[in-house]
Every structure is written in C-alpha cells, then in structure tokens.
C-alpha cells in the first residue's frame, strides 16, 4: 500500500525497494545509526549486536527454507556447525584465506543441506522435520568422531578473520564485517522473493500439488531451497567461529535449532523483515531476562532463593513466545505492517 498521492508510472518504480523520499531518508538514517553504533556502544552491547547480526544471517537462511518454501527444518544448528567447522579447518589447518574459507563454509553447508534435502521429495511436514532432526544428530556425530580433521569432542581453535592482510582482532571491525554480510543476506532474500525462484518457493509452500500441476519442478526447487537456506547457515557459522575463536560440537546443540525455528516464527514466517525482528527480539530478550531481570529480582527479593528468581527469566521467555503464537501468529513483521498502514492512513482510521 503506497502513501496517499504516490503513484508508480514505470515498472522500475513499481519494483523499487525504496520508493519514496521518506523511504530513502529513513534508510539513510538507519545506515547512519548502524554505521556509527560502535562509536557510542559499549563492548558488551557491541557483542550483542554482532550476535544479532550472525543470528540474522542464519535466520534468513531458515526463513528462505521454511518461510518461503514451507520445508520445515529443525536441524539448522547442524548446518551452522558444518559452516563453522569447514571454515575453522580450512583456515586453521590448511591456511586458507578467510574469505575463501567463508565461501567454502557456505558452499559445504549448502551441499550438506542439499543431501539432507532429499527426504523432502517424499515426505513433508512432521516427517520432514524428523528427517532434519536426524541431520542435526548425524552432522554432530560425524564432527564429534572425525578426530583427525575436526579435533573431535575437544574442538578446534580458530584464527582471526583476515581480509587482504588485515586481521580482524576486535569487535569494532568484526561488527562491520558481520553487518555487511547480514545486509547482503537480507538484500539477497528480499530480491529472491521477487524472482521466479521465490514465487516458485511460495507456490510450493502454499500447495505443492497445485504448483507441480502448474509446471514447477518440485524436485529442483525444494533442493534449491535447502541449498540456499543452508548456504546462509554455513556463512553464519563461519562468522561465529572466527568471532568466538574456538569451535566445539557442544556449541551447536539441538536446542539451538529449536531456538531458530521459534525465532523465525516470532519474527514472521515468509517475510523479509521477520528474521531481523526475530533475531533482535530473541537476543535482546535473552540479555534482558538473564543479565538484568534475574539479578534485579534477586536484589529485590533477597529472602527468596536466587535460583527461584533466576528461573523467572526463562519462564518469562517461554510465556512471551506462547503469547506471540496465540495473539500474533504472523509475528512481529505483521505488527510492523499494521503499524505502517495505520501511519500512512493517519489521522484517518481506514
């Protein structure tokens, strides 16, 4: 819905992502804020921002796979682990350049996703979810037992990310790298949705039989969705590994996969902005409940065992997720859309 008085007279204007001067102004403001964040942000919140960026990249991948194409995947953490370990092994053991390691991480994760996407040709829904859970456990089992390459259960130390000889040693520079890759992922996802491939994904999600009748090759597009979705998971894994400086199988648990599914649901399935909202919401909620709310409750109620007040944090986390699913199942992206509509109509109500 365009603002009152704005009309599109050309195809280019109709397809433009930023169509009005207000859009451009807000976009530039967002760029300015995001670009200058490290200058006025503490180290802790800069680390949270980097974590949000990495989570967003992985969530974009899962959103393409589950939100656009309707292929439920509860093994996303496994594919993130593939990317992390690929990058770690190539850079630490074989001295690959970081950028090549990053690309290989995405390609390897995409390839593994492609392999584990084959069940989607025969099963769907709950049964496909079980197959992706199997992927999670198989991947972590291989990582944990392939001692000679991955270090097994003991993990690996990962070197600094390095671009053209410049080592990214601190969060200040890591932030810009992560945000750049996140922007690329979001831009890719946004444009994918508007292409023939994106429309095929949506058609498969809505009714795969009808899509097949219309001439969409289910085999090709489902596997492509797995490849693309897991590619971005691998990229996120690589960035996370180089940021943290070490990898071990315990960091990519099944609960992480569940978290990502919850994240894209809260953000809004099948929307471009949904993964961003979901990542910001989940990571900030985690910080607020664990680091601020629980200690505040402990200080406010000193007579209660602090384990009791600390447990309120995760309880609140679960309640919020349930409330979202009940009251706003289309996620924060839908709320944002409603806000934009009401803003454009204001002061009129319809």
């Amino acid at each position: 819905m365009l603002p009152c008085g704005v009309h599109n007279y050309t195809y280019a204007k109709d397809m433009a992502i930023l169509r009005t001067k207000t859009h451009w102004a807000l976009f530039l403001l967002l760029l300015a804020l995001a670009g200058t964040l490290p200058l006025y942000c503490s180290g802790t919140w800069l680390a949270v921002a980097i974590l949000i960026g990495i989570t967003t990249i992985a969530a974009v991948g899962l959103n393409i796979l589950t939100g656009y194409c309707g292929q439920l995947s509860i093994g996303h953490a496994g594919f993130i682990a593939v990317g992390a370990y690929t990058s770690a092994v190539l850079t630490a053991t074989y001295n690959f350049p970081f950028l090549l390691g990053l690309l290989c991480a995405g390609l390897m994760a995409g390839f593994i996703g492609f392999i584990f996407g084959f069940p989607s040709l025969r099963v769907k829904g709950f049964y496909l979810a079980i197959a992706t859970i199997a992927a999670q456990f198989i991947i972590l089992w291989v990582i944990g037992h392939w001692d000679k390459v991955t270090g097994g259960q003991l993990g690996l130390t990962v070197p600094f990310a390095s671009i053209a000889g410049f080592q990214i040693r601190d969060d200040f520079h890591m932030y810009y790298l992560v945000m750049f890759v996140a922007a690329l992922a979001i831009f890719f996802s946004m444009n994918l949705a508007r292409t023939r491939v994106g429309r095929a994904f949506v058609a498969i999600r809505d009714n795969d039989l009808a899509a097949e009748v219309m001439g969409i090759n289910l085999w090709f597009y489902k596997l492509l969705a797995f490849f693309i979705g897991c590619f971005w998971a691998g990229v996120a894994g690589s960035l996370g590994a180089h940021w943290m400086g070490s990898v071990s199988p315990e960091g990519y648990s099944f609960m992480e996969s569940i978290l990502y599914v919850g994240l894209i649901i809260i953000g809004g399935l099948g929307t471009t902005i949904g993964p961003i909202f979901g990542a910001i919401f989940i990571r900030l909620l985690d910080q607020l409940t664990g680091i601020y709310l629980s200690p505040a409750l402990t200080a406010a109620f000193p007579n209660l065992p602090s384990g009791f007040t600390t447990g309120i944090g995760p309880m609140l986390f679960g309640i919020i997720i349930i409330l979202f699913l009940v009251l706003e199942p289309r996620g924060l992206a839908h709320r944002w859309t409603l806000f934009k509509f009401s803003y454009r109509l204001w002061p009129f109500s319809y």
Partner: protein
C-alpha cells in the same frame, strides 16, 4: 509597532550589560595558596575484590551448577566474616547466569572485559571453551573449576586448580600398576566414555601416554549421558579381555555400565574405576552399595567427611542443608579458596590499584603474572593437594594430586595418600590438535 518592542528590548539588554560591566569590581588580590592535605588513603574495606563469575542457574547443567555456586557463596561469606576478607578487602562477587549457553557466555565475557574485571571464573569446561577464545586473544586470565583438555592446552591465559580427567586417569593407572598389579605383562585397559570432553579427554590422554605409563589400551566404547543399556558395547569390550574398565563419565551412565558389566559376568572380576565426575556418592546410590563395592575412583579433592572439610559442612548445614554430601558444593568452595589466594598474592605484590584501576591490559597482566603465576605451595585448608602455578609455567593445573578411593560399605574411602598425576604436554605430543 513590532519594531518598537524589538528596539526597546535590545536597548534594555544593552543597558543591563553596561551596568553589569560597570558594577563589576576589580577582583581582590588572591591570597597565597594554602597547602591542601592529600586525600586520605582509602581503607581496604572500601576497596572490594570482584571478579567475573559465571553460574549456570538455569539450563541443562543447573542441577550440577547450583550447588557449586552455593558453595562459592558460602566460601565468600566465610572469607569475609571469619578471615576479614583478602588482606582486609571484602569480596563482593555476584555470579551472572550463563544458562549453559555458549552465545550468552560470549556476551558475559565481553561484559567483564568492558568492566575491566581482573579475572573471570567458570564452572564448566563448555562455558570456558565458549569464553576462552576471546579471553586468550585479549590476554584476560580465567580460572575454570572443571577443565577439559582444550581449556589449558596449549597453555595461554586459562588456569584450573586440579588435574583434569585425563590426568586423573593416568594418575590412577600409574598407582594401580605400582601398587596393585602383580603380573609381568602390562595391564589391559578398556574405556567406556561419555561422548563429550569428559570421556574423550581421558581417551586422548591414554592414547598419548599408554606406553610411558606401562599399560595397554585395548578397547574404547562411548555412550550417551541418557543411556539405559550398554550390553552390546560391553560385550565387545569383554571380547578384548581387559584387566581394567575405566569409565570416564557421570554417575547415571556409570551406574548403568556397572550393572551391565555385572550382568555379563565381568564384574566383580576385572577392576572398575572412574574419575572424579563418575565416582561420587550418587554413583553408589544408583548402582547399589553391594554392587558398587570395590570400584575405584580418582579424587582431586577430599571426601565430604574428611576433617579438612569441617568448615564446608558447617556452612552447608547452616545455609544449604539440601546440598549435604554434595561433592560439587565442596569442589566450588575449594575453587573459591584458590581464587582468593591468587588475589591475595597479587594484592601483596602489586596492590589493589594495579588490579582494579588503570588500563585493562595492565590489570590482567598484574593479576596473571603477579598473582596467579606466583602462587606456589598453597594449601587450600587441606581440601586438595598443594596448588602451584609457579614451578612450571606450562602446567596450568594448580594442584597435580589425586587420592585413590575405593567404595567400601556404601561410601568411598581413601586407599592412598595424595599422589601426583603426570603432566601431559599436549601441545608437544599432539601439536596438530593443540595449536
């Protein structure tokens, strides 16, 4: 009309300014400066000791970590009230919840770096592994209670205060060969380990050091923490005819394996043992006192009822009776004593200001090189062997000693004095794994 008011207003302003300038009297000559007394030196009570403390109040490890954190809280109260703090400085530490989540742990270490904490501590190896990459990069020292091999190898800025699970395994096997084993051939050792660093650490240690210790490593099987039967894997182990079955695991799966070994006729017969995480009172309770009779354990810390643990029992009974006989409560009490000693040495050498003011890098260096690395021969009130970080800079274990215990009458009783565990320089023996 409008301009008239403007002109009047401007005129008023000018007049007031001129009056103010005219009325300003020349400043009188300033008196000679009187010497001001230097500010009083702050008292030690006003300079608290803090460090970045991690706790798993929530998450899958909460059941194990909660008593650990209570032990630390009680020890802090003991040090503050009965010992007057650390050289008069009170300890004021509040642990932050990591939720046993690596991503949140990363934000915690960033927070402590921001705050300029001189040191950070974690309970578990998983949380330390999540934080140590960042800590090692900036040079911030850390101390972990339960360390995996990767935490302290290769040695950088992370320390622990006891032999790790691999060291405990080798310490037991060496003691066993010297004191119990009578045959000429080397004893055959089989391992049934947990599928994480708790199990894989001892596996790697034995692979690297079996020849030096004088044992033969004949079989390895792994299990999950929630296993309910290991009959099939134990059958494979039985086929290798081992003399010793070592179980580097946790209590629940350990008890399952002992029961299955009994069902297969392996136990009693062979020697069964495990490291500190595996052989606890819980293991005996789950297995049954009769069936557990005679199993060995390697303990880097004294038994709950040891006279050295009297203060631990006193505070536990007073504040947390639910954690009575909980070895983790005792373990983290000891951890707190070791951390306090590191601070005491650092305070003696460089003072409070060097640890809590000034550039962060200098604080970390002061804490590590004037504190931790100068701790030598410290006895944590008899709770474990002497702590020494000074003698060998590559040995970040603190205490290198264990006691061998054996289950007798439903409790573990010591059958040896403190024995030293060999130091495994993983960075030199397996450089491809420990860069």
């Amino acid at each position: 009309m409008k301009s008239k008011w403007v002109i009047m207003g401007m005129t008023l302003v000018v007049v007031v300014a001129l009056l103010a300038i005219a009325c300003a009297a020349p400043a009188p000559p300033s008196p000679p400066p009187t010497p001001t007394p230097s500010p009083p030196k702050p008292k030690p009570e006003e300079q608290p000791i803090t460090w970045g403390a991690e706790a798993c109040w929530t998450g899958i490890a909460a059941e194990k970590c909660n008593p650990m954190e209570r032990g630390e809280e009680c020890c802090i109260e003991y040090i503050n009230k009965e010992k007057g703090g650390i050289l008069g400085h009170p300890i004021k530490v509040k642990a932050l919840d990591s939720g046993y989540d690596s991503a949140r742990m990363v934000t915690l270490i960033k927070r402590w770096i921001d705050e300029g904490q001189p040191l950070f501590c974690t309970h578990s190896s998983k949380m330390m592994e999540a934080a140590m990459g960042i800590a090692n990069r900036v040079g911030m020292p850390g101390i972990v209670n339960f360390a995996s091999v990767r935490c302290i190898h290769p040695p950088k800025h992370i320390y622990t205060h006891g032999p790790d699970y691999g060291d405990q395994t080798l310490g037991f096997l060496r003691w066993f060969k010297e004191n119990i084993w009578k045959e000429a051939r080397p004893p055959r050792v089989a391992m049934h380990g947990l599928n994480n660093p708790t199990g894989y650490g001892p596996k790697l240690a034995l692979e690297l050091m079996a020849d030096e210790i004088g044992v033969e490593f004949v079989a390895w099987e792994e299990h999950r923490a929630d296993t309910v039967s290991e009959m099939e894997s134990l059958t494979r182990i039985k086929a290798k005819n081992p003399d010793i079955l070592w179980i580097p695991s946790t209590p629940a799966p350990t008890s399952v394996i002992i029961k299955n070994a009994h069902a297969l006729g392996m136990w009693p017969g062979i020697v069964i043992g495990g490291h500190y995480a595996a052989m606890t009172k819980t293991t005996i309770d789950l297995t049954g006192a009769d069936l557990a009779e005679g199993i060995y354990g390697a303990m880097p810390i004294v038994d709950w009822y040891d006279p050295a643990a009297a203060k631990v029992r006193e505070y536990c009974k007073k504040y947390w009776p639910a954690y009575w006989e909980n070895a983790d409560f005792l373990a983290h009490w000891k951890h707190c004593l070791v951390v306090a000693e590191c601070f005491r040495v650092a305070l003696e050498n460089v003072g409070w200001e060097a640890l809590f003011t000034g550039p962060k890098e200098e604080r970390w260096k002061a804490m590590e090189y004037e504190g931790i690395r100068k701790v030598k021969g410290y006895d944590p009130e008899g709770l474990c062997g002497p702590i020494d970080y000074a003698t060998n800079p590559r040995d970040h274990r603190g205490s290198k000693y264990i006691k061998i215990v054996q289950a007798k009458g439903g409790v573990f009783k010591a059958v040896s004095d403190w024995i030293e565990c060999p130091f495994i320089d993983y960075a030199k023996l397996a450089p491809e794994l420990f860069k």
